[in-house]
């Protein structure tokens, strides 16, 4: 079986509104409803709705021979329910075809796998339940962690939860001479299969597609099919992992990205011996070649493929550690608003906005941040977190008083 495995990440954070020092202790609503709603609506018009319509046509047209998979974060699903039921419905239709797979992740697109096993399990279960509720009882079998973060240990936890496979980055420093185009096994529990992103070919679509200074511009299906054919025969799986917003949002419709995707399956079927499969089909069908050792966590971000985009400077480490100091206390508090805010505050994007790696990947970072500087992002987050800490303390006192 030689196959292409498409996985698209669908995620939008709950952005925090401008929250001043004077608001601490007074204003307990942190979320920027207006910009969250308008961003969801904008991306829905440019990407989610047209691309979902296109994919539905393609899946129907090829009668199930063309398949894709999605991971839709829980915080994004919440926003679809609130602001874009039409988008949610179009995803439901796609999943209902039986040829579109959904992956499990953490509900809040959180970094908790790095710090707390119990919180990680809870986040995964919550997301599972949300998918089940919104997608007609759907039960995901493959896991993708926030930002494709993976280590042997995280894989071990995922295996324990009963998943058959997990996705991560085909990071050069992990693979060495090895190819990402095979199925691997977790180093702790070989029952967990690991799929690695082919970042070369994935990023040709996701990042370089409309880059006019790229020597291979413009990217055509003919070129892409040639590159696929250049993959050595024994390499079976081509994992193309990317943000779903690539289609229409990062790469605008005018670049021809939709047409490219529309004609890709036909070119693949006609000129290559590849097909299309979903992650579950791949982990069940392909034979793993070996274990993959990842002692230190990797991710799909930036040149380094490490965690420094979220936990690389003092600001981020401070915000992260102060947040997770609260875990045990929050768990005891049965209050829907505290629980909601605890979830939303964990979203990795908040830490990404505080990244100060200006010079290497700053351009990509500033594209994704609505703050003028990482310092502004830190101040705003810490103000909110300070108020949240006060609320948690007050609830704690109430609990003690009741006992």
């Amino acid at each position: 079986m030689r196959t292409i495995c498409f996985y698209f990440q669908v995620h939008q954070p709950f952005r925090i509104k401008p929250y001043r020092f004077f608001d601490i202790g007074d204003d307990h609503y942190y979320w920027d409803d207006y910009s969250n709603k308008s961003i969801i609506r904008k991306v829905a018009q440019k990407c989610y709705l047209p691309m979902n319509a296109l994919l539905l046509d393609m899946v129907n047209h090829y009668n199930g021979k063309f398949k894709v998979s999605f991971s839709i974060s829980g915080v994004c699903l919440d926003q679809f329910e609130a602001y874009a039921p039409d988008v949610l419905e179009s995803f439901q239709k796609l999943v209902a075809t039986g040829h579109v797979e959904l992956l499990n992740e953490t509900d809040a697109h959180s970094l908790c796998s790095l710090t707390s096993k119990t919180e990680f399990n809870r986040m995964v279960e919550n997301h599972k339940a949300k998918i089940k509720r919104l997608f007609n009882g759907y039960d995901p079998k493959v896991f993708r962690n926030t930002e494709l973060i993976y280590s042997d240990k995280i894989g071990g936890m995922v295996a324990e939860m009963g998943f058959e496979g997990m996705l991560t980055e085909g990071a050069k420093h992990i693979l060495g001479w090895k190819s990402p185009n095979f199925v691997y096994q977790n180093a702790i529990d070989p029952n967990l299969k690991v799929l690695l992103k082919n970042f070369q070919l994935s990023d040709d679509i996701a990042f370089r597609f409309s880059n006019k200074t790229w020597s291979d511009y413009p990217l055509t299906t003919e070129k892409f099919v040639n590159w696929i054919n250049a993959i050595p025969k024994e390499q079976e799986v081509l994992n193309l992992f990317m943000d779903y917003e690539t289609f229409g949002e990062h790469q605008w419709a005018e670049t021809g990205i939709f047409e490219f995707m529309k004609s890709l399956p036909n070119a693949v079927f006609q000129y290559t011996d590849f097909g299309f499969n979903t992650p579950t089909e791949v982990v069940r069908g392909a034979k793993p070649v070996s274990k993959i050792n990842v002692p230190v966590p990797i991710s799909w971000a930036d040149e380094e493929r490490d965690l420094t985009a979220w936990l690389g400077n003092d600001l981020q480490n401070e915000a992260f550690s102060k947040l997770y100091e609260l875990e045990a206390k929050v768990k005891k508090i049965d209050d829907p608003e505290i629980q909601r805010d605890w979830n939303y505050l964990q979203t990795s994007d908040h830490f990404y906005y505080m990244c100060t790696k200006f010079f290497s990947d700053g351009a990509v970072h500033s594209y994704f941040s609505h703050y003028e500087t990482p310092y502004d992002a830190f101040i705003n987050y810490m103000n909110v977190l300070s108020d949240f800490i006060l609320r948690v303390k007050n609830k704690e006192k109430e609990l003690e008083a009741m006992e």
Binding site: F22, G25, N313, Y375, I379, S386
Partner: protein
């Protein structure tokens, strides 16, 4: 006495303490029946009619005057030599100079026009405005009768010198801040040169504190007999009753000012850490902006006190009052502060203050804790003490209003009038 006074800003359009001080001084002088012609580069029309205001932008210059040509010759070098922006940090300054460099590729055609539109801002064309302002000053000195000339800070010194050149009346140079206060030991030479020229040309120099007087004598070589001290005062000595209540249970310790070298923000951060280690029920607030802001944020994160140490950014208007009102302690750890009016504002809000010994205000404010700016242990002790031993805070609050009553602009102006009288009599 008729005073021809040159300032750079006047309320309500101000960006620093200079405008406020000028306002207070003018008010005090009016109280003592002095007539004032107050010149600013730009008038906005909503200034309080305390003086005969002259808008430098409206003055038509008669270039045929021979003396003017001489003055202009001395000034052109100023214009081209530098683009200094004294109230900006290096980064903002660079932005401005970048603009300025490009702007200056073409020759200034306004040199030969009669009128010049001043911006009155501390902006990219500052030097151009300073020298142009001097030319206008000469024209005013020629057309407006006066007995004494008074110039505030270096921006107005070339104006004061030019006016003196025309009318021959005695000149008072008023020092609100020196280049050493603004930049530490790495002074901008052109600014220093202008300051020094102003002080040497002046018949008398007034400094806002003994601290500043000492700098004037030691660093600018001005004869001690020529320099006297004129402390600043408060416009309104009443205690402000605010109905703003803080919304957090913890006590609040506040730094409020520009976050620059001069204000010593890093000592506040280090002292905060020492206090929080002993008493977690305190929040620290750093209000303001400036070129050291990001470094302070990083340091706070590094010290792991991000949920106890807050940054508000630049505050204005009611937010400033509210900040004072909800503070339990106000700290001004300035490395070098010629005077520093902010602690007096804090006193007006009944907030106990800690000030550095390196500030002029320490010379007049008795009911305050005074520490060396670098002594973060002493600063931490003082903060802790004011937060926990209520008797000191209580005493400061009770005595604060009495103390403020002594710090009135009328008193300052009275002293200044004696200086004017003396200069007037000594005139040949």
């Amino acid at each position: 006495m008729k005073v021809l006074m040159f300032g750079w800003e006047f309320p309500p359009h101000i960006s620093g303490g200079l405008g406020t001080a000028c306002y207070g001084l003018v008010k005090g002088l009016v109280h003592h029946k002095q007539e004032i012609i107050f010149v600013v580069p730009k008038l906005w029309g909503d200034e309080e009619p305390l003086a005969d205001f002259v808008n430098a932008s409206d003055v038509v210059i008669d270039y045929r005057e021979r003396k003017f040509k001489k003055i202009w010759k001395n000034l052109t070098y100023l214009e081209v030599s530098s683009f200094l922006v004294p109230y900006l940090g290096p980064e903002e300054f660079k932005k401005y100079t970048d603009y300025a460099m490009h702007d200056r590729m073409d020759v200034d055609e306004s040199v030969f026009s009669n009128k010049f539109e001043f911006s009155g801002k501390y902006g990219k064309d500052l030097m151009k405005e300073v020298s142009r302002y001097a030319l206008v000053a000469a024209q005013i000195a020629k057309s407006k009768e006066h007995d004494v000339i008074h110039a505030h800070d270096w921006l107005a010194y070339p104006a004061g010198i030019a006016a003196k050149e025309i009318s021959g009346k005695p000149l008072v140079a008023h020092i609100h801040a020196t280049e050493f206060d603004r930049s530490g030991e790495t002074v901008n030479q052109p600014v220093y040169d202008i300051e020094r020229a102003g002080m040497l040309a002046a018949d008398h120099v007034v400094a806002v504190s003994h601290l500043t007087r000492k700098i004037v004598i030691e660093k600018y070589g001005v004869h001690p007999d020529k320099v006297s001290v004129l402390h600043n005062a408060v416009l309104d000595a009443s205690i402000i009753k605010s109905d703003v209540r803080k919304k957090v249970p913890e006590k609040i310790v506040t730094f409020l000012g520009r976050i620059t070298f001069q204000k010593g923000p890093e000592y506040f951060v280090e002292a905060a850490k020492k206090v929080i280690d002993r008493d977690p029920n305190v929040r620290f607030v750093m209000a303001g902006s400036g070129d050291l802001l990001n470094r302070m944020i990083e340091r706070v994160a590094e010290l792991g006190m991000g949920t106890k140490f807050h940054f508000t950014g630049f505050l204005k208007g009611k937010d400033v009052d509210d900040m004072y009102a909800i503070s339990d302690v106000y700290v001004m750890p300035s490395v070098s502060e010629p005077f520093g009016i902010a602690p007096l504002e804090a006193v007006r809000h009944n907030t106990p203050v800690i000030i550095s010994k390196q500030s002029g205000v320490a010379e007049v404010l008795r009911n305050a804790i005074k520490v060396d700016f670098w002594d973060v242990d002493a600063m931490a002790d003082a903060i802790f003490g004011l937060l926990h031993y209520e008797s000191i805070s209580k005493m400061f609050k009770e005595l604060g209003s009495e103390e403020l009553k002594k710090l009135k602009w009328e008193h300052v102006a009275a002293k200044l009038v004696t200086v004017y009288d003396k200069l007037h009599k000594e005139q040949p």
